[in-house]
């Protein structure tokens, strides 16, 4: 019994350590700072002005998805903006598109999915969410077109503001994205080693062996061990946690020396994570990779722009928003990853394989149902999906699960139904479930070798029919309202 509990704990700790060491740093750390920059530096008016009531549909739907990916990194924006678009702005359709696209396309979810599971799945999640987000929006607008037409036609002043993104802010965001990409992309230019340094630090190789003993792992099950480099990174991460608490908590009032120490540690961590450390007998072999050059250059650029291109207040707000996201999401993620490691020990691969090992309708449905009824904190869906993948789940049902889980949870359904009413909310849920299943099937078919062109053709035809139907209905409504106007006169 004690043996069993110990095995569970080891599973949890091992999963956590492997995650913190390998994936989290080079992708999540920059991603948090990008999310912070988006929240603090992009004026909301730059996107919301395209979401007013008088905006034509071919602009408002893409703008709604853009708002979903750029503005909506946290619920502070998602719910008010959703209600605003629905009640005072472009209407139910774009509001639904926004709501659907936001959790799948924000920078944190995309970066994490790409690094932990694979860029192909991140890309599938993005493009299929975009297509289906707009699709569901159009369908909802079609079904409830009468309610939408009943809304007042006055363009609300909340959508009238016009501010655009400053050029230095745009550059700043681009460099941050470059930092993320140069740390995570697996292309030769970045992963090749261009030089090496040998440091006479003995003992690291035995340290690494000891780590393998403490955190046993099985590569066959998709588990990863903790290397000496990983252990160093976890140490650095803990230091960042402490110094960030001292330095960022009151950043909006003033920065202090802890702020600078913490930022220095973040930079150091990113640099250490981007080289390759090989502990050898009697010394440490460091490979200078292309990643190191890329990350280093990006860091210098970020410092230069932050120092000369942005106002002090903007930098403070950027750091505060980033820190707020880290504080809000990271602890839950750590607990979640630990729990996934524990549960991993209890699930037999055969169960998953029989249920969703192949790309069937039933398998995809199973993924969706699991996603709807389980509620996990933001981003925890990714390690869970990784666990399913290593247990033998097909990538199709996996995508179905990844689409359904963040979109639908009991909590979000309740909030949405408070705003748009129960009937509309449950109709939305039904469409999301259907479309997630469809997305899984399509992606699964592509993984199994169906040609991409045919799939795209089907998708395009489907979207075309939908928009045509919507166009016709809206014309009929317009005609009707014109008739009633005439009758009144």
């Amino acid at each position: 019994m004690i043996d069993f509990l110990l095995r569970l704990l080891q599973g949890g700790a091992g999963n956590l350590a492997a995650y913190l060491a390998a994936h989290v740093l080079l992708c999540l750390l920059p991603a948090f700072f990008i999310a912070g920059a988006m929240a603090a530096l992009i004026p909301k008016e730059s996107v919301t002005r395209f979401l007013g009531r008088n905006t034509p549909r071919y602009i408002s739907y893409p703008a709604a998805s853009l708002a979903g990916s750029v503005l909506a990194v946290c619920s502070c924006t998602i719910v008010p903006l959703f209600a605003g678009i629905y009640k005072k702005g472009a209407g139910l359709g774009p509001a639904i598109t926004f709501l659907f696209f936001a959790p799948a396309a924000n920078i944190l979810a995309l970066a994490y999915t790409g690094v932990a599971i694979g860029p192909d799945l991140a890309f599938a999640r993005l493009s299929l969410s975009l297509a289906f987000g707009i699709g569901i929006g159009l369908i909802m607008a079609l079904i409830f077109s009468r309610d939408d037409a009943a809304h007042d036609k006055i363009n609300d002043e909340s959508f009238a503001g016009r501010r655009s993104i400053r050029r230095s802010v745009l550059l700043f965001l681009l460099i941050l994205v470059a930092l993320l990409l140069s740390g995570t992309l697996k292309i030769g230019l970045l992963t090749n080693a261009y030089g090496e340094i040998n440091l006479p630090i003995p003992g690291l190789d035995t340290f690494q062996q000891a780590l393998y003993q403490v955190v046993p792992f099985d590569p066959g099950k998709g588990e990863e061990g903790v290397t000496a480099q990983g252990a160093i990174l976890i140490g650095l991460l803990a230091l960042i946690g402490v110094t960030a608490w001292l330095g960022f908590e009151n950043i909006l009032e003033r920065s202090n020396s802890w702020t600078w120490i913490s930022l220095g540690l973040v930079a150091l961590t990113l640099l250490v994570a981007s080289v390759q450390l090989n502990p050898e007998v009697g010394g440490l072999n460091i490979l200078i990779t292309g990643k190191l050059v890329g990350v280093g250059l990006a860091l210098v650029m970020i410092w230069l722009i932050g120092r000369f291109g942005l106002e002090e207040r903007e930098v403070q707000e950027w750091l505060w928003e980033s820190w707020r996201f880290i504080k809000q999401i990271f602890p839950l993620l750590v607990v979640g990853v630990f729990m996934v490691g524990v549960i991993r020990q209890l699930i037999r691969p055969e169960w998953i394989e029989t249920l969703a090992g192949e790309n069937t309708v039933l398998g995809n449905l199973a993924g969706v149902v699991f996603g709807v009824f389980m509620y996990f904190p933001t981003l925890v869906e990714v390690p869970i999906a990784k666990m399913f993948l290593s247990l033998g789940m097909h990538r199709g049902p996996l995508l179905a699960y990844l689409m359904a889980d963040p979109e639908l949870s009991l909590q979000s359904i309740l909030i949405v139904s408070a705003i748009i009413g129960r009937l509309k909310a449950w109709t939305y849920v039904a469409w999301v479930a259907l479309f997630s299943t469809l997305a899984g099937l399509i992606y699964g078919a592509w993984v199994d070798g169906a040609s991409a062109g045919m799939i795209l053709l089907y998708l395009a035809a489907f979207m075309g029919i939908l928009s045509l139907a919507l166009y016709l209905v809206s014309r009929r409504n317009l005609g009707k309202s014109a008739q009633t106007m005439a009758a009144v006169k």
Binding site: A40, K44, T48, L71, C74, S75, C76, T77, V79, P80, L81, A83, G84, K87, K88, D156, E157, S158, L252, R313, E317, W320, R324, K327, Q328, I415, A418, I419
Partner: protein
């Protein structure tokens, strides 16, 4: 007397804004009541697209960001002058 409303469902930024409003009121030595509005239907009565929002005497002065204390003080003084 001023009525100050802090709009927000309880996220970190909303709590921060509430502290800030209380502090500004204290330092000005004003007669004011700070109310937290957490219900989304009540929040949406104001023209706001993201929380936190700050309302002084039923007028929305700021939304979607945390203002500085100096800004809050100016808004408070303006509202006081208008009320007289």
């Amino acid at each position: 007397m001023l009525t100050i409303k802090v709009l927000g469902s309880g996220c970190a930024n909303c709590k921060r804004l509430e502290q800030l409003a209380n502090k500004a009121v204290m330092e000005m030595g004003m007669q004011a009541e700070v109310v937290k509005v957490t219900d989304y239907n009540d929040i949406m009565q104001y023209p706001i697209l993201s929380t936190p929002g700050l309302v002084i005497n039923e007028k929305l002065v700021c939304s979607g960001r945390i203002p500085t204390q100096a800004e809050v003080t100016i808004w408070l003084v303006n509202a006081e002058m208008e009320a007289v």
